[in-house]
């Protein structure tokens, strides 16, 4: 898994690439923890290059969403690829977390 971060005005765009599984999810957790620790609270998760997510990845996304909400911010997800979209649909995450077709759409909301 690779994570890259860029800032767009007040919003942080976090792009996650590869596989978010039991082994890699802790890396995402610590990255997000660091970003929230710096006071970031509005986050767009760009999953355009995320190929795979398991329950461990979903847990990490939920933890990030909970932290953002508690800080008065938000987390949304965008550009879900087929496998990730399926897992979001099955798990109810698609109805729980805002999901957008593209980063641009998420930023212009």
């Amino acid at each position: 898994m690779q994570i890259s971060v860029r800032k767009d005005s007040e919003t942080l765009v976090v792009s996650v690439q590869g596989r978010m599984d039991t082994l890699s999810a802790p890396e995402f957790d610590s990255k997000m923890e660091g970003l929230f620790g710096q006071g970031e609270k509005k986050v767009v998760l760009d999953f355009g290059k995320l190929e795979y997510v398991s329950s461990a990845g979903l847990r990490s996304i939920l933890v990030a969403a909970k932290k953002a909400k508690a800080a008065g911010g938000s987390v949304c997800c965008c550009d879900l690829q087929s496998m990730v979209k399926k897992v979001f649909d099955l798990s109810g995450f698609a109805a729980m977390v805002p999901v957008f077709d593209s980063v641009e759409e998420a930023l212009s909301r």
């Binding site: 795979y52 398991s54 939920l62 099955l90 798990s91 977390v97």
Partner: protein
């Protein structure tokens, strides 16, 4: 029949996942179904590594079997740890909000959703999870 037996350690997770991924591809499964098999096996193996044994004391064995009468793929995951029927876990509350949603409990739910059948058997001191996947 193909099988792989390794210590129940989370560091072996991707080796198990690659093994079933190859089995499903050889079986002619689409990329979508290959991912379903990978997901179910990750969830099952993660549970075993986390709960079945006291640290580093046992193995996980995965067997991929071809169903004689059909084109279904049968994946059997066996451990010799504590008796544990993961399939008996209660379903998560899918309608909960971000604030109320529990951070756990999704693994077994996903296994049930992506596999066409899931059966648990405790036999001879072993837990055996039998997952059946149709090609589509």
């Amino acid at each position: 029949m193909k099988s792989l037996k390794l210590p129940a350690e989370i560091g072996n997770l991707r080796t198990f996942v690659s093994f079933v991924s190859d089995c499903a591809r050889t079986h002619g499964f689409s990329q979508e179904r290959v991912s379903d098999v990978e997901l179910a096996v990750e969830e099952a193996v993660t549970n075993i590594c986390s709960y079945a044994y006291d640290r580093g004391q046992g193995d996980v064995e995965i067997r991929c079997l071809q169903d004689d009468d059909s084109d279904r793929l049968v994946v059997e995951i066996t451990d010799s740890g504590k008796a544990f029927d993961a399939l008996s876990a209660p379903p998560p509350d899918l309608a909960a909000s971000v604030e109320d949603r529990d951070v756990g409990g999704l693994g077994v739910f996903l296994i049930r959703r992506v596999a066409d059948e899931a059966h648990y058997l405790r036999q001879g001191g072993q837990n055996r999870l039998r997952l059946i996947f149709r090609p589509s």
